[in-house]
């Protein structure tokens, strides 16, 4: 296993992700009046989408935050939650994987 500590995550990289999270609402504002991506429709006609799971932050937003401002805030919160979750899962996974005797090359 790789015993990488979370503190090994460079601060600069974290800062870059935070900047991207803060500007992420661009990703909904410039497509506000657009349709869904092809193939990413929410619901379609008579089919019953298989519901196995209720995502806590569906569509990267909080329930009822509909206005452009609130949806943007919800988007930023979702980006931050997602980034933290992804980093945590990766570090946890790395504890189950990999070589540990690589310390002299760590930096």
């Amino acid at each position: 296993m790789v015993n990488a500590k979370l503190s090994s995550f460079p601060k600069k990289w974290l800062a870059a992700l935070l900047v991207l999270a803060v500007v992420s609402p661009i990703g909904i504002l410039i497509v506000w009046d657009y349709g869904d991506a092809w193939g990413e429709w929410g619901e379609v006609g008579e089919w019953v989408p298989q519901q196995f799971w209720n995502a806590p932050l569906p569509d990267y937003n909080l329930e009822g935050w509909e206005s452009q401002l609130m949806a943007s805030l919800g988007y930023i919160i979702s980006a931050l939650v997602g980034v933290v979750a992804v980093i945590l899962v990766t570090y946890l996974l790395s504890r189950m994987l990999g070589r540990k005797n690589d310390d002299e090359t760590s930096g």
């Binding site: 790789v2 015993n3 990488a4 090994s8 995550f9 460079p10 992700l17 991207l20 992420s24 661009i26 990703g27 909904i28 410039i30 497509v31 657009y34 349709g35 869904d36 991506a37 092809w38 193939g39 990413e40 429709w41 379609v44 089919w47 019953v48 989408p49 298989q50 519901q51 196995f52 799971w53 209720n54 995502a55 806590p56 932050l57 569906p58 569509d59 990267y60 979702s78 980006a79 939650v81 997602g82 980034v83 979750a85 992804v86 980093i87 899962v89 990766t90 570090y91 996974l93 790395s94 994987l97 990999g98 070589r99 540990k100 690589d102 310390d103 002299e104 090359t105 760590s106 930096g107």
Partner: protein, 256 residues
């Protein structure tokens, strides 16, 4: 490109899950050998970067949207299996926390964005680098040009695969995605021929920056299948070098 639940019939999504089980086995076995403390931060950064890049929806003139993925960048820095693992994590969080991409379709989505895209992208990247090796371009320039092509090709082939998965449904699983290949392929491909330019530029920009400022980060140990080691050897060199250096004191200087 995140296929939701209810669009792929069971035959398709189960098959792609089974295919992914095999690929995950090889990817994790490779990671078990090659993942070290030094590339864990990069693996988590690439997974997080992909996660957030996919949130930047871009408007397409036909009224739909599409987004970057970042899988070829991850493949260039971590090797294609590294990209598979990074994208698996990003897509898992997207599906579970944000309902983006289905749970039954998780295997299909990882296959498209986490396997087809990084593997074809890194092959294109390696191919272009080979073509450019004799030119007078600067090293970062060569890498950036190759990265542009890699990002462009990878994203488009991933979209093409998604289109095929959608497009075969009317024939094999009535009641799921209703559009046949003649609709799905033009719809997905036309969009990604455009967004591929953005993907390519973003991939090239980061690779250029790394080659220019942090060449050490391009020489991290790669998670790649054996048959690819030959074509990636300039980048993959460290794996064998490390073994040699293990006894010798750490040498800071990197050659080319």
């Amino acid at each position: 490109m995140h296929i939701p639940d209810g669009y792929l019939g069971p035959a398709t999504w189960i098959t792609l899950f089974l295919v992914m089980l095999v690929i995950w086995f090889f990817a994790f076995r490779n990671a078990n050998k090659n993942l070290g403390p030094r590339n864990v931060p990069m693996l988590s950064f690439m997974a997080a970067l992909s996660f957030i890049l996919m949130m930047f929806n871009l408007p397409i003139p036909d009224g739909t949207t599409a987004h970057m993925v970042g899988a070829v960048l991850a493949a260039i820095v971590l090797g294609p299996y590294g990209a598979t693992i990074a994208l698996s994590i990003a897509l898992l969080i997207q599906a579970l926390l944000f309902g983006d991409g289905g749970i039954t379709a998780f295997g299909a989505n990882v296959f498209n964005m986490g396997v087809v895209m990084p593997f074809t992208g890194i092959l294109a990247y390696a191919g272009v680098r080979k073509i450019l090796v004799r030119t007078k371009m600067s090293e970062p320039g060569k890498r950036a040009a190759a990265a542009f092509v890699g990002g462009y090709v990878g994203l488009n082939l991933a979209a093409f695969c998604a289109a095929i998965e959608f497009g075969i449904q009317p024939a094999i699983a009535p009641g799921y995605a209703p559009y046949g290949l003649s609709v799905a392929i033009p719809a997905m491909v036309s969009v990604h021929l455009l967004v591929g330019i953005v993907e390519g530029l973003a991939t090239a920009a980061v690779v250029y920056y790394l080659a220019d400022h942090r060449p050490d980060l391009l020489k991290l140990r790669k998670l790649a299948p054996r048959w690819m080691e030959g074509m990636l050897k300039e980048d993959i060199g460290e794996a064998s070098e490390i073994a040699k250096k293990q006894k010798a004191p750490v040498e800071v200087k990197g050659g080319n």
